[in-house]
Amino acid sequence: MATVDRGLERGPEGGVPVPYRAVLAGVGITFAALVVQLGSRGQLGGPAVAVALGGLLVAGAGLATGLKRWREGAGAGGLWALAAVACGLGHVAVGPAWDSLALLLTVAAWVAGAAALLAVLPARWRRLALSLAIAAHFAAIATAVAVVPPRDGNAPWLAQQVWTRFARPYLLFTNLNNGYHFYAPDPGPTSLLWFRVQYADGTSRWVRIPDHSQCDTHIEARRWGALCTFVGQSAPADPRHFEEVVKLRQKRPDIPAGPGPAASQYRPPTTQAQILIADYAGYVARTAAHPEGEGPAVTGVKVYRVDYHNPPIKHFADGHPPIDPAQYQPFYMGEFDASGKIKPESLKLTHDSRGILGHTEQDPLLYWLIPIVRVKEDGSPAEPGEGRVINFVRKHAGDPDEESVP
């Protein structure tokens, strides 16, 4: 094991040891970035960020070199302290326009400061501090596991408190915020999105996400799939509001309700999901080419969030095609304009002057299941693979074809 130098010894070259020179140079460069940032009053934000990052790299290189010579003691502690200063300067130097990097550098400064303290602590105290940090780290991980609610109940109250107050910021920052409930309690349906793009000349086209035929790698397929899963989060419906939407739903008897209780057929998305669905719609409107190339402008995009449930085993045993249209469960998310704004016919929220929600007007089918059903000749429900498919999504969207799915 390498010899540990406890003191701040001078290098064989004399004067300030080389690693210290490098870290000091890094501090100096970062300070220069700060001067550029403050001097230009944010006008040279980009160059200041580049200079600050360069300074931090130099400081980091000096720190890495120095830690080969001093693993602990005043030598290492001094280097870490200077690195903390560099990060602190960097925090200011990147300016408010790059505030997310400022957050990273704030954390880096605290970590470097803690490392400086650890370096000068006696070995026994250092181990105690590290042990406490390890215990706190895994306690946070355990909280992320426990905070996922079971199917028919709430997550532990204590876990929720610890999660929101302490663990969440740490685990979100480090991207370790996973509950590790993979395919549990049961593997669920797959989330998809269908967009029906309407053009000014009356033509239309469907866009689906994920479109596996357009994905070159599984990374692409999973990323698109994750975008759909994210907006699949539903907000619990307010019971008073739910009675109103059930009454409203009855105004569209041409689109029948699906099987099952009404509560399971109404899935209003969370606020975050609503924001993102609007952006998805805008992106699709901008990028979905007209079926005949250059063409008229997009006048509207109808969005359906879809759950796909696997067909039962019998469906495969009987040799039917593996994908069954009746296994798709689409929920109407509204119609958006070309800029990604939900049309007032779909949802109109009225707020008072203080921003408090007053009145809501919405499409009778908004957030409701639009069924795709399989029926026998006599109209009674048919088993997968039997009878014919009535695709009410097509009907709702205005397509003549009622059988196939997008």
């Binding site: 997310s100 991980i141 079971p150 590790y180 593997p187 796909y308 696997n310 929600l357």
Partner: protein, 494 residues
């Protein structure tokens, strides 16, 4: 002082402290972590390259996740604390901030349909340059820089600094496109987070190569045999290895325990649900659907496969965290984990996720076992000698370079400039020569070709020597002694 509590409290506490200290703080060999760095780097480079077609929709300023929206979510997303009381129908409203009436508050109410005074925390602790880059061109530039850093991490150059940069860059992708994340991203974050604190460039890296070169050059200049002792064990290597191991056990236990809540894992249909989900992962092989249909026709066969698969998954996920610490069970558990994740990769298409999981599981491989395997793979049968003169700078450099790339001592270094030396080379040495046994040896480009093709560590470099024209170019730039003599003879004949 003897008290009745001593045997009850103090002794067990002391035993626990000693066991804790031995578990976390016993110095360990950094080879395993270096191996994990290489594996992580390989998968990471693949993931970043595969992300390139998604730059515009996911990271572009006007993509599917527009910069403006993602910044709004980053800065304003409300976080609420759970109800402070017990089962009240109308819980008391807790205000974490004073009620204020101004335009910002009104806008927040309109956007989130909630009063900001009752919000416990606002925003997400995220960072990424992609939040701030305003043009697609800069997004591409940053992406290419990210790939370059990941390659440096893979190769192990300036690893201490680069490992921190790699973590920050990789998380920049995760934070900016958080709605597009899936399990793979967490596994990647786990590996990069822990490896950042580890001496993961101590070996199997360009850093180590450079260190060996410097050691070699220093020794050879002093006519001494070059010695580069293997990197010693360190406490930080052990801490990081343990962090990975414990985290992996938590992942498996949480995953297994949460499955016990589900009927599908009890009755075995969960495996069917993952295999037959064509919208999640369309099958890549034509025979897959007929095979599934054939299996579905026999209830006994189907149930045997599905129930067996579910039982295997549950047994492994719940058993691994306890049995993997037992030396006798460790190989069984690791083979089980590899089988499980190979199955997930093939049947569900989650290739990168599975690879990252296997890499974390590899933290359980003992360093000695890994070293033996690496030696078996990279130490070939070649036994060579390199004759050089320590009086020539080029000779010392070449010998130091050979020492650097020859961790298993397959090339004997013979200093022809050392008085009283013995060896296969007679007469004056005009250029370094490489050979085996009693051969005359080769110099110049043929030396490079022979060396790279003989040492397995250099086989990736040797591929370049097979490129069309490489040999001709190499011989033109650095002709061997034989070629030079032949050239001279041709010149004299004229």
């Amino acid at each position: 002082v003897k008290t009745p509590l001593r045997p009850l409290l103090i002794q067990p506490a002391r035993s626990f402290a000693e066991a804790w200290s031995a578990f976390w703080f016993t110095p360990a060999d950094p080879t395993v972590l270096s191996f994990l760095r290489v594996c992580t780097g390989l998968v990471l480079v693949y993931v970043l390259v595969a992300t390139t077609p998604l730059l515009e929709p996911l990271y572009g300023p006007d993509g599917m996740l527009p910069r403006e929206t993602m910044n709004r979510l980053r800065l304003d997303t409300p976080w609420m604390l759970p109800n402070p009381g017990h089962d009240e129908v109308e819980p008391p409203m807790v205000r974490y901030r004073p009620m204020v009436d101004n335009e910002e508050v009104f806008a927040y109410r309109r956007a989130w349909n909630i009063d900001p005074s009752v919000v416990y925390a606002r925003g997400l602790p995220q960072f990424s340059p992609f939040f701030h880059l305003t043009t697609s061109r800069w997004v591409l530039v940053w992406h290419l820089a990210g790939i370059a850093v990941a390659v440096l991490f893979l190769l192990g150059l300036w690893t201490r600094v680069v490992s921190v940069l790699t973590w920050a860059i990789a998380l920049g992708y995760c934070h900016r496109a958080s709605p597009a994340l899936f399990g793979m991203d967490t596994m990647m974050a786990i590996l990069l987070f822990y490896l950042m604190f580890a001496p993961c460039g101590a070996t199997l890296s360009l850093d180590r190569l450079i260190e060996r070169y410097r050691d070699g050059a220093r020794a050879l200049r002093g006519h001494a045999a070059p010695l580069s002792p293997a990197p010693g064990p360190s406490v930080s290597a052990n801490v990081v290895t343990r962090l990975l191991q414990v985290h992996f056990c938590i992942i498996y236990f949480a995953s297994g325990a949460s499955k016990l809540q589900g009927a599908a894992w009890w009755n075995g249909t969960a495996i069917w649900m993952t295999w037959s989900n064509y919208e999640f992962a369309p099958p890549k092989f034509e025979f897959f659907t007929p095979a599934l249909q054939w299996v579905a026709q026999s209830r006994w066969l189907l149930e045997a496969i599905m129930t067996g698969g579910a039982a295997f998954t549950l047994a492994l996920e719940l058993g691994f965290p306890f049995l993997v610490w037992r030396p006798r069970w460790r190989p069984v558990m690791l083979v089980g984990a590899v089988l499980l994740h190979t199955g997930i990769a093939v049947m569900m298409g989650l290739v990168a996720f599975s690879l990252f999981m296997m890499v974390i599981a590899a933290s359980f491989i003992p360093a000695q076992t890994l070293k033996r395997v690496l030696e078996r793979v990279f130490k070939g049968p070649a036994r060579l000698w390199l004759a050089y003169s320590s009086r020539q700078r080029v000779g010392v450099r070449l010998a130091a370079a050979v020492h650097a790339v020859d961790p298993y001592g397959q090339v004997a270094l013979i200093d022809a400039g050392k008085p009283g030396r013995e060896g296969p080379v007679d007469g004056p040495l005009t250029a370094p020569r490489l050979g085996a046994g009693d051969e005359e040896g080769v110099s110049g480009y043929p030396l490079v070709e022979r060396l790279t093709r003989s040492l397995r560590v250099l086989w990736p470099v040797a591929l370049l020597t097979w490129l069309p024209g490489a040999s001709r170019l190499g011989r033109a730039l650095a002709p061997g002694e034989r070629e030079a003599r032949e050239k001279e003879a041709v010149g004299a004949g004229r």
